[in-house]
Amino acid sequence: MLEIRSLTKNFENFAALGPLNFTLDRERVLTVIGPSGCGKSTLLRLIAGLEVPTRGSIHLDGAAVTEPRSDIGVAFQDPRLMPWLSVRHNVGLGLWRWHAAERTAAVDAALAKVSLSKFADALPKQLSGGMAQRVGLARALVARPRLLLLDEPFAALDPLTRIKMQDHLLDIVGSEVPNVLLITHDIEEAIALSDRIVVLEGPPARIRRDVLVDLPKPRKRTSAAFQELKELLFGELFPDERTLAA
C-alpha cells in the first residue's frame, strides 16, 4: 500500500506541491493527470526518492521512502539509456547484486516482454525512439518492483506507436507488479489504462478530483462511457473551457 500524508514540496521560494494526501492500495493502475507545470512530475520524483519532501511523508508497505528503493521501478519521459552500454547492460543496470545467471534470465525475460530480444547486444544509438523507450520500460520492470512509476512514458512517441504501447502496457507490466502509478497529461491514455484517476491542479499541486474508473478492459475508445468520462475529465482539467468540450 502506498500512503501519502500531508506531502509538501517547496523549491526555495516556490511552492511546488501539497499538502497532498492519498493512498493507493487495491486499484492496480492509478493515473495522475494534470496540466503541464502543475507539479505532477514533482510528485513522481518524490515517490521515486529523487526529491526529499519539505513536509509530510511517503510510505510504501509501511516503510518510509526517503531515497531510491529497489522495489520502486521508474521509467522516465525520455529513455535515459547509458549510450556506452548495450541494451542488455542498460536493462540489467540495477541488478549488479544479483548472480550472473539470475541477472541474464531476468534481463532476457524483460527484453522478451518488450519484444526486443533480438536487440539485446545493440547500442542505444542503433535504436529508434520507440525502441529506446521500451528499453527504458524493460529496465524499470526487470527487478519486478512492488510499485512501477511511469512519468509520461509515451509522450515523446508518435501517435501510432503511442496507442500500440498503451494497449500493450498492462501485458508488458505483467501480473508480478502489483501497482502502477502513471503520470500523464493525455486524457485518453488515462482512461484507457487506469482503475483510478486523480486530477491535479496547481502549482502547488493539489487533488482537484479523484475518480474510480469502473469500465471493462480492454476499453473501447469510441464507447459512450469512455466519451462521457473524457468530457468529465476535460471539464476538470480546463474548467474555463467547459463549454468548448460540450
Partner: protein
C-alpha cells in the same frame, strides 16, 4: 527527381574508389606536397641562401645519413622514452585528481584554484628549480614533461565529470548505484570523450616540452640534436629534427585517436578522423 543521376553515378564512383586512396588521405597530402615543391623550387633557383634555408633534398639526405648511422634511432628512443614516461606520470596524476575534483564540489574548491594559478606559470620557468631539486639528469626532464602534460588532461577530465548529465545520474540512483559504483558506471564512461581530448592535447604538449627539457644539459635526444645543429651551424640538421618531431607527434596522436575511436564507438556522432 535525382534518382536517375545517382543511379548512374554511384557504381562508377565505387569503382574509382576501389583503386585510389580515400579522398580524405589525398586531401590531407595536398598542402604538404605543395609546400615541398615550392620549397625545393626556391632552393634550386637560388632565391634564398642555402645556409639559411636548406633544400628538401639536403634535409632528406641528412635524415638518411642520421638513419643509417643509427644516430636518429638512438636519439629518438631517448626522446620518446622521456615523452612517454613524463606523459604517463603527468596524465595519471591528472586523471586521478580530475576525477576527485570533478566529482566533489568540496575538493574542487580546495584544489582547483591552486591548479589554475600554477597553470599560468610558463613551463620553462620551472626548469631552473627542477634542476636545483632533481639534478641535471633524467629527473628534471621527466618532471617538466609530467608537469606540462598534467594540465590539459586534468582540465578536460574534470570538466567532463563535472558536466555529467543529471538525468543519467538519476537513472543510476533509481537503479541503486551510489558512491564508487556510480562513478565507475556513469561518471567515468560519460567523461571518457573529454579525457581523450585531454590526453591528445597532453601528448602534443609533451613533444613541445621535450625540446625545452633537452636544452638543459642533455647529451642525447632529438632536442639535443637540434640544439647541436644550432651550435654547429647546420640548418639541414635542424630541419631534419623538426621533421622528426612532426612525424613523432603525429604518430602518437594517431595512436591515441585510434584508441579513442575504438573505446568511444558508442558515441552517436559524425565520424571524425
Amino acid at each position: 527527381m535525382t534518382d536517375a543521376s545517382t543511379a548512374l553515378s554511384a557504381p562508377s564512383e565505387l569503382r574509382a574508389r576501389a583503386h585510389l586512396p580515400s579522398p580524405r588521405v589525398v586531401r590531407s597530402l595536398v598542402l604538404p606536397l605543395a609546400i615541398v615543391v615550392v620549397w625545393e623550387a626556391v632552393g634550386a633557383l637560388r632565391l634564398v641562401d642555402p645556409t639559411l634555408l636548406p633544400t628538401p633534398f639536403a634535409v632528406l639526405k641528412e635524415l638518411f645519413r642520421l638513419t643509417t648511422s643509427g644516430e636518429l634511432v638512438a636519439n629518438l628512443i631517448v626522446s620518446s622514452r622521456r615523452v612517454l614516461l613524463g606523459f604517463a606520470i603527468g596524465t595519471a596524476v591528472a586523471t586521478l585528481l580530475g576525477a576527485v575534483t570533478g566529482y566533489s564540489i568540496y575538493w574542487r574548491g580546495v584544489i582547483d584554484p591552486t591548479v589554475h594559478a600554477l597553470r599560468t606559470i610558463p613551463g620553462l620557468a620551472w626548469i631552473p628549480m627542477f634542476i636545483l631539486w632533481l639534478g641535471i639528469d633524467e629527473g628534471s626532464k621527466l618532471a617538466l614533461i609530467a608537469l606540462a602534460t598534467f594540465f590539459p588532461t586534468y582540465l578536460n577530465f574534470m570538466s567532463g565529470i563535472a558536466r555529467v548529465d543529471r538525468k543519467l545520474i538519476e537513472v543510476g540512483r533509481v537503479n541503486g548505484l551510489t558512491g564508487a559504483r556510480l562513478v565507475s558506471t556513469v561518471l567515468i564512461p560519460y567523461s571518457l570523450p573529454f579525457l581523450f581530448v585531454g590526453l591528445r592535447q597532453s601528448m602534443g604538449v609533451a613533444w613541445l616540452v621535450v625540446v625545452g627539457a633537452e636544452l638543459m644539459g642533455a647529451s642525447s635526444g632529438i632536442g639535443y640534436m637540434l640544439n647541436d645543429g644550432e651550435m654547429t651551424g647546420r640548418p639541414h640538421l635542424i630541419m631534419a629534427c623538426m621533421i622528426v618531431f612532426a612525424l613523432s607527434g603525429k604518430t602518437t596522436d594517431l595512436i591515441i585517436a585510434t584508441i579513442a575511436r575504438r573505446v568511444l564507438r558508442w558515441q552517436d556522432t559524425v565520424e571524425q578522423p
